[in-house]
């Protein structure tokens, strides 16, 4: 069974990952801090268990720390990328709805690439970008056709969201890979 520090780091990793903010540098920095804090506790005469508990109590819960990271990083860039993703989703839905437009492959490609682009550019929540890009076309299609019957009303959104989710998570993974490579190189 892992000790309290590795368990805490695992919990923090999970909390950061859930918020689309996993960063190995953050975990390394937190680990370094906690170990130094444990050493300080040992110098005060505490047992290892007491020193580890003291270090974790003073650091704050994994959820609190991850939430604070999220709050601090929720900057203008994130909002701008989200707004652009919504606009792109609406634009794709509009183009796709034109009577003269008959190329489903290009529509799907545009969705895949634009979802990937926004997460590659730095949006930290791939699922949000996937929804922002992919929700408009099925909504528009359903509204225009007036067809609310199963299974079409479920299958079309699922198919489109599958494309945007793949695109968004692919862009996010590429970005993580680039960051990792850069850090290794530096």
């Amino acid at each position: 069974m892992p000790g309290p520090i590795p368990s805490y780091l695992h919990a923090l990793k999970r909390q950061l990952w859930l918020r689309g903010m996993f960063d190995s540098d953050v975990l390394a920095e937190v680990e370094s801090h906690l170990l130094e804090s444990v050493e300080a506790g040992l110098l005060l005469g505490l047992t290892v268990q007491e020193a580890e508990q003291r270090a974790l109590d003073r650091f704050g819960s994994a959820k609190l720390v991850a939430r604070t990271f999220e709050k601090e990083r929720r900057d203008g860039m994130q909002k701008m990328l989200f707004a652009l993703a919504v606009l792109m989703g609406i634009l794709i839905a509009f183009v796709d709805s034109r009577p003269t437009w008959d190329d489903t492959g290009i529509t799907a490609g545009m969705m895949l690439l634009s979802s990937g682009l926004f997460t590659l550019l730095g949006h930290r929540r791939p699922w949000l970008i996937a929804l922002a890009v992919g929700l408009w076309t099925p909504l528009y299609e359903t509204y225009l056709s007036g067809n609310f019957r199963l299974p079409g009303v479920i299958l079309l959104p699922l198919f489109i969201l599958l494309i945007t989710f793949v695109g968004a998570y692919a862009g996010w993974a590429v970005r993580l890979g680039i960051r990792k490579t850069f850090h290794v190189a530096s």
Partner: protein, 105 residues
Amino acid sequence: MIGEALKGHLDLLLLTILSDGPAHGYAVIESLRARSAGVFDLAEGTIYPALHRLENQGLLLSQWSEDSPRRKRVYQLTPKGQEALKAHHAEWLKFSKAINTTVGI
């Protein structure tokens, strides 16, 4: 109460501590605690996001130090950070003077 009040002035405190010279997160937090005689006692983990934000804003620069047995991420003030510190300092003087005058201290 103190924790909430402190958050609004965290940038000033962190930049002030780092104006004394480069330091890693643990040292910054210890310094914050020591200088305030334990009054400023935030959850330590909530200081790192603020340090990272200041770095993203170009006010701090960080690099991993391999000097000690354990790797440490050391932060230092940039020229832009020094300018920001002066601005925060001036703001704080104005603010605290206004509060003191209002409450009659």
